[in-house]
Amino acid sequence: MPDVLMPALSPTMEKGNLAKWLKKEGDTVKSGDVIAEIETDKATMEVEAVDEGTLGKILVPEGTADVAVNTPIATIIAEGESASAAPKAEAKSAAPATPTAPAEAKVADTKSAEAKPAAPAQPVVAADPDVPEGTAMVTMTMREALRDAMAEEMRRDDTVFVMGEEVAEYQGAYKVTQGLLQEFGARRVIDTPITEHGFAGLGVGAALAGLKPVVEFMTFNFAMQAIDQIINSAAKTLYMSGGQMGCSIVFRGPNGAAARVAAQHSQDYSAWYSHIPGLKVVAPSNAADAKGLLKAAIRDPNPVIFLENEILYGQSAPVPQLADYVLPIGKARIVRPGKDVTIVSWTIGMNYALKAAEELAKDGIDAEVIDLRTLRPLDTPTIIESVKKTGRAVTVEEGWQQSGVGAEIAARIMEQAFDYLDAPVARVSGKDVPMPYAANLEKLALPSVADVVNAAKAVCYR
């Protein structure tokens, strides 16, 4: 003999009022008959019978307030059953999912669900591969290194293709895709219309189907048009499909302030993308890292946001001349060892950090400089080990402070190395304003070497 249970009007409803019975005990009910009305402060709803038979006993009289969801409110006697053969136990066994004392059972349920899984441990990332002794180093710009990385991966794997605005015939708005059309043809180097949301989504679709797109945004400012596809489609599909369907895709392009292009074209998205589980975020500071990490990003089976920087494109650095130079994603690098203070930065922030370290050395402060290279997954152990040694830390980023990458680093240091700290972590960042156009204001809005030096001295109490 099935019970009629107090229904929920919405997923968040916990209780309601039984406003009215429309059937009396002994009435025949067919499935779909409205038998009662219930209400909450937000809505009213009709309760329909699911089972056929006779309304047996009304367990909750009309006018009762605060009836918990799932409380039996009446019984229905199926044809041939007698009202006296009523006990609830039977009803329960007929509907095993319905717990005896719903309210209590619910509590118990939540409790048992609270057996929390442990968050995965910090992954162990391999160190950079050894560069064999005697390997020739070629000096090249970051622009060339990125191009070479794409070209090598395209030679290696026919599913890799490059797509974006002006990437083919124009050779790239910042000339990063120079020569790719000539070598790989229009099938694999594709000029798109100015439709970021469209082509980012198309890229994700192609990646779900097994291709490996490298999607260039002319700058990451324009990726805001496409950010829904990046986050809702690229980052989450693997999880939502229970691991069935992921996407191997790289979104790359210049990020952060260029020069004198004002607020809508000068923004650092490091913190934005590094917030998102399901994405990897890479932000190299030099040509060698750019090459090794872009190759890794293209091979990675996950969506990778690859943040470049227009000002760094023209900077040259030695790159090992190896057939296949691939660097691990998720590994920071200690660029300059030191013992007095840890300076953590990435991409263009490294320019400020390294110059500041030189200035500090003149004042007898020996700074250790860490280049994060990857923002997600963040190489926390490297930072923590360094802070345990120096007892002081300064983060440097062009983005804003609130909810920034520096804020995250400071929190992790506080959580994992609190007892080693001799001073609060200091953050150097872009000022909390949209980027101004005027030359003097722009300079003030950006972090400077002096800001880093001052912050480092401050945490050293000097």
Binding site: Y170, D191, I194, A262, Q264, D432, Y437, A438, A439
Partner: protein, 348 residues
């Protein structure tokens, strides 16, 4: 439906700059010819000066010149009335000057000085004037299209009979938000005029390499928005088309699309490889279809003004532009304290 436009070939400028215009051509009296001449020439000279000043390092970042397209904004402006709103993208200097904004304030914004329209904070791509109903100046391709639709919405909401004019490029016309806007504008019969400035290229991409339907006047067809293709090099044709669209909108019939067939003489911004088109192509439009030369020739051949009188106008305009560049060169940079102002309005 008034999509009477003819299908044109894609071989660029020659046909593009002088399309068989579907619309009529307004007859201009002497005052109109001369005023159109002045307004277009002011934009041309202003832009040439801006280009020079960029070369001297006085202007930074991006600087998108409007040279070649002057008839579009000047003709449209002649069809508008006080209170009608204007909004465009980053190629905006011409629009501001056509709206009656002061060339001094525009140039000083280009140099990032305190006397600029945004006090030096916005630069070339981001300028605004509440007084002249100029709503920017937007750096993100096509972002102005929903905004312009919102301006039209505000007119409908208030029950006034103003229209908004939203300018965007052939490249911008492929962004999704354009079509979201079209749908709402027609659904709610908003007084929105969409002026697509088809200058044949989006950066280095010719229209036929980016667009499945290169007749942009037809881009409203599936929303039932009428559209005309207009010779955007002839200021009279622009004005006539503008008047038709304005009348449609003011009558409460909803939005209207005007595709202006025009041409940009200069590079996309200041650095431009110029490899995507031939020099001859540019030259052909310059010599055959220049919007300013056309008016000048008519003024002279109809003897509305003498050669000397025209020269006098030219000199006056040069003076105005020089004055603007001098102001923009000597005006001080914003006070450093301005860094933190204007992020929020004070709450009351």
């Amino acid at each position: 439906m008034a999509t009477a436009s003819k299908n044109k070939t894609n071989d660029a400028a020659v046909s593009s700059a002088a399309p068989a215009s579907s619309g009529s051509i307004a007859t201009f009296n002497k005052d109109q010819e001369v005023s159109a001449y002045r307004d277009m020439l002011l934009i041309r000279r202003f832009e040439e000066k801006a280009g020079q000043m960029y070369g001297m390092g006085l202007i930074g970042g991006f600087c998108h010149l409007y040279i070649g397209q002057e008839a579009v904004v000047v003709g449209m402006q002649m069809a508008l009335k006080e209170g009608d709103q204007i909004i465009t993208g980053y190629r905006d200097h011409g629009h501001m000057i056509a709206c009656g904004m002061d060339p001094k304030g525009v140039m000083a914004e280009l140099t990032g000085r305190r006397g600029g329209y945004s006090h030096g904070k916005g630069g070339s791509m981001h300028m605004f004037s509440v007084e002249k109903h100029f709503y920017g100046g937007h750096g993100i391709v096509a972002a102005q299209v929903p905004l312009g639709t919102g301006l039209a919405f505000a007119n409908r909401y208030r029950g006034n009979d103003n229209v908004s004019v939203t300018y965007f490029g052939d490249g911008a016309a492929n962004q999704g938000q354009v079509y979201e806007s079209f749908n709402m504008a027609e659904l709610w019969k908003l007084p929105a005029i969409y002026v697509i400035e088809n200058n044949r290229y989006a950066m280095g991409t010719a229209v036929n390499r980016a667009s499945a339907q290169t007749d942009f006047s037809k881009r409203g067809v599936s929303f039932n928005i009428p559209g005309d293709q207009v010779d955007g090099m002839d200021v009279r044709a622009v004005k006539a088309a503008g008047e038709k669209a304005v009348a449609w909108c003011r009558a409460g019939k909803g939005p209207y699309i005007l595709e202006m067939m025009t041409y940009r003489y200069r590079g996309h911004s200041m650095s431009d490889p110029a490899k995507y088109r031939t020099r001859e192509e540019v030259e052909k439009v310059r010599t055959g279809h220049d919007p300013i030369e056309q008016v000048r020739a008519r003024i002279l051949s109809s003897k509305m003004l003498t050669e000397d009188e025209i020269k006098k106008i030219d000199a006056e305009i040069r003076d105005r532009v020089n004055e603007a560049s001098e102001f923009a060169t000597n005006d001080p940079e914003p006070d450093p304290s301005e860094l933190y102002t204007d992020v929020y309005r004070e709450t009351v």
